[in-house]
Amino acid sequence: MSDRMAHLGLWLLSHGHNIAAWRHPASNPAGLTGIDHYLDATRLAARGKLDMIFFEDTLAARERNGHIFGEVAMNSLDPMTIIAALSAATQDIGLAASYSSTYHDPYLLASTIATIDHLSKGRTAWNVVTTDASAGRNFSEKGHPDKDLRYATARETIDIIRALWNSWADDAVIADKARGLFYDPAKVQALNFAGKWNAVRGPLNLPRSPQGNPVFIQAGMSETGMDFAAYFAEVIFCSIPTKEQGIAFRSGMRERARGYGRDPDTIKTMPGFVPIVASTDREAREKEEFYAELVHPNIQMALLSERFNMDMSGYRMDAPFPFEDVLAAMEADTRPNVGGDKRKYLANILPDDTLGSYCKRMTRRTYSHVHCVGGPETIADFIGEWVGEGACDGFILLPWHFPLELEVFVNEVVPVLQKRGLFRNDYAGGTMRDHFGLPRPV
């Protein structure tokens, strides 16, 4: 039994985090372009008292062999537009969107996120991403800025955006009708920010938002990314395979935050987590099998083509794994960091692997995020153990199907967590900062 409560977020991604979720008999893929799919899932998550929903952001279509990756569901639609649409139609639950600091100007970013914080009455978070290299070709013939430059400009962007959010005092709006003063000019200040890359005069054309500053999320796990996160992020979305690594990561991030003069309790680590839940442990294992079968051989092949940057469709599934060809394609691959760490995938090939057996094993779980398969008690044990032992402050749930697997989690796991005192029975406050116990910045 732990005296610590878990925080739970939900990454809302198309029909679910199983790569073939859209093929599930219960799926209605045509609904993925309409707002109701996202509204229903968000309301379901709010019924489960989750801290937040979260959306990813990409600035290029997902591709393999120079074509769109048509075997998988389309990319998320613009995430800020989605959370803006949800802002006035949902209650309680936090709304987090990823958005690129590299390809948006700080003033409009500040204004957009503060607007959504106003409209949602203090439930907004921004996951700061600097965007992967595939975006470059959609914005400039000069290509994508390198990582150090992206992080350096992102840090300056954070400074500007914070200054813009703080350019109105909380009590600046006086609406003095008799004197005709809508705001007190002494309480709204220009910033005249002149940085290395950006110059912004300000002030923002919006009063300070309900949370003061909407919550900052960050997801980089490289050395640069971790240092960047420690500088400003309040929630860290991470990928942690084991409890021991979770303990090390969390204490490391808390230490780094302290290094920036921050209270370590204002930085929360939230690993991604795939819960595969059924009424019993056995049924959960059967469910895992069912989802593995959903991953059609065409999807398996396309995934391989994406990872190794070669067209795999000409190979026979029952032939030995074409190690030499794949190695050659990898050597020729100039895409920076597309498809993850390719050498890691190759290391997983077993001596007697056919292409088919490798594909099936590899695509059974497409995430490096931690999985737990079992009944509600088993899942609750897992969450309780990780949070109780300081491996994390909670999890970002990656259910394999929306709404089915989210429903199971909300209906069966959340009550167990609540009974054990591991999760809130109800929202204690109205803002996302309230849910995470984060102070409102002065």
Partner: protein, 369 residues
């Protein structure tokens, strides 16, 4: 084409479009940032079967207009309009997004999202040129040293459309059996490499249900008008007489002209005059445009005369005090327009293009390699 019905849009503003509106009794400052304020206005507009509501008009710079104005609060228009798509299920949703400081790829993507999510109800109020105040807040804009904004805006709008067209209408196959979500042969690179912009594409969103969301502009400069002729579906014009509006309308060519209409309504002319005198005594309204103070009958007659006289295809409504003048318009003016056979009683189609009677553009990339 002779139209039976006029087009009616509503420009949202928390307090109303008169600069002294916020000083009227009943306005609470908290309403200025409360979604409920705009949902209530949108509901009045939707119940009256208006064509669209719009956020971000009149176009203002990002510099604060001074402490006397509630318009110092400018909720970001695209986010505000997105927040209305769930409470309002039929009416069109127009949002300003300036071209000076957002990348074309992002603009194309944002409106593809707004249009898809809302079932084809979005419109883009494009602002081709921005002023020096904005330059001070938008470094990307400043760095580009925009010397020929309209030439740049033309290329910008073309690229936005190319990206919308990068997915064919039937690119989503959704074939579960054979595991084909998207037909990759129906998604195309745009390969845009122009004087101002570069983008390879494709967009990472399906083509908007409307093909291209309708484009609005409000820039009546020479450059703005030639931009509008090539790119706009609707032009918002600040004309104070039917004669000048008619001249402009004839000059526009393709796009439909909507006349800005500021109004104060009263049960009698005297009451309306009293109200406008009180408002004007507190703050002078912005110059330019059609201002009306009088009864519902007077306003309906004026609108009918402009519409049937060929001065405009419709109006962009700017009620002086919200929600009072909007509610009076919906309750009293709309029935009079209907009695004249000049405005719809029900929505007939689903998309904003349907409401506006605008054809859906063909996809220029269809069948491309």
């Amino acid at each position: 084409m002779t139209r039976k019905h006029m087009v009616l849009g509503l420009s949202l503003d928390a307090a109303g479009h008169h600069p002294a509106a916020w000083r009227m009794p009943g306005f609470d400052a908290a309403a200025a940032t409360d979604a409920a304020t705009f949902i209530a206005q949108g509901r009045l507009a939707e119940d009256a079967k208006l064509d669209f509501v719009m956020a971000g008009y009149p176009v203002r710079s990002s510099a604060l207009p001074g402490p006397a104005f509630s318009q110092s609060i400018q909720l970001e228009p695209l986010s505000l309009i997105a927040a209305l798509m769930i409470p309002l299920r039929r009416i069109g949703l127009a949002a300003q997004l300036p071209m000076a400081y957002w990348e074309p790829f992002n603009t194309s993507r944002a409106f593809a999202a707004l249009d898809n999510l809302s079932g084809g109800r979005s419109a883009w109020l494009a602002v081709p040129a921005s002023g020096p105040d904005d330059e001070a807040n938008y470094p990307r804009f400043a760095h580009q040293h925009i010397t020929a904004p309209y030439e740049r805006a033309m290329e910008y709008a073309e690229l936005v459309r190319e990206l919308w067209d990068s997915w064919e209408d039937d690119a989503l196959r959704l074939d579960k059996e054979n595991a084909i979500f998207t037909d990759h042969e129906k998604v195309h690179r745009v390969g845009h490499s122009g004087k101002y912009f570069f983008s390879d594409g494709p967009l990472n969103a399906p083509r908007p249900p409307q093909g291209h969301p309708p484009v609005l502009t409000a820039d009546l400069s020479a450059g703005g008008l030639s931009f509008a002729a090539a790119q706009a579906d609707l032009v918002l014009a600040r004309e104070s007489t039917a004669e000048t509006a008619k001249l402009l309308n004839a000059k526009l060519g393709g796009p439909l002209l909507l006349a800005d209409l500021h109004f104060v309504l009263g049960a009698t002319d005297a009451e309306a005059r009293e109200r406008i005198a009180e408002l004007n005594g507190l703050a002078a309204p912005e110059a330019g445009g059609l201002f009306f103070a009088g009864t519902a009958q007077g306003l309906a007659d004026l609108m009918a005369a402009w519409f049937s006289g060929g001065a405009c295809t419709g109006f962009n409504l700017l009620p002086a005090v919200m929600p009072r003048d909007l509610a009076a318009f919906a309750a009293d003016v709309v029935p009079l327009l209907r009695a004249k056979g000049m405005f719809r009683t029900e929505y007939e189609g689903q998309t904003l293009r349907d409401h506006l009677g605008l054809a859906r553009p063909a996809n220029r990339m269809k069948g491309a390699a």
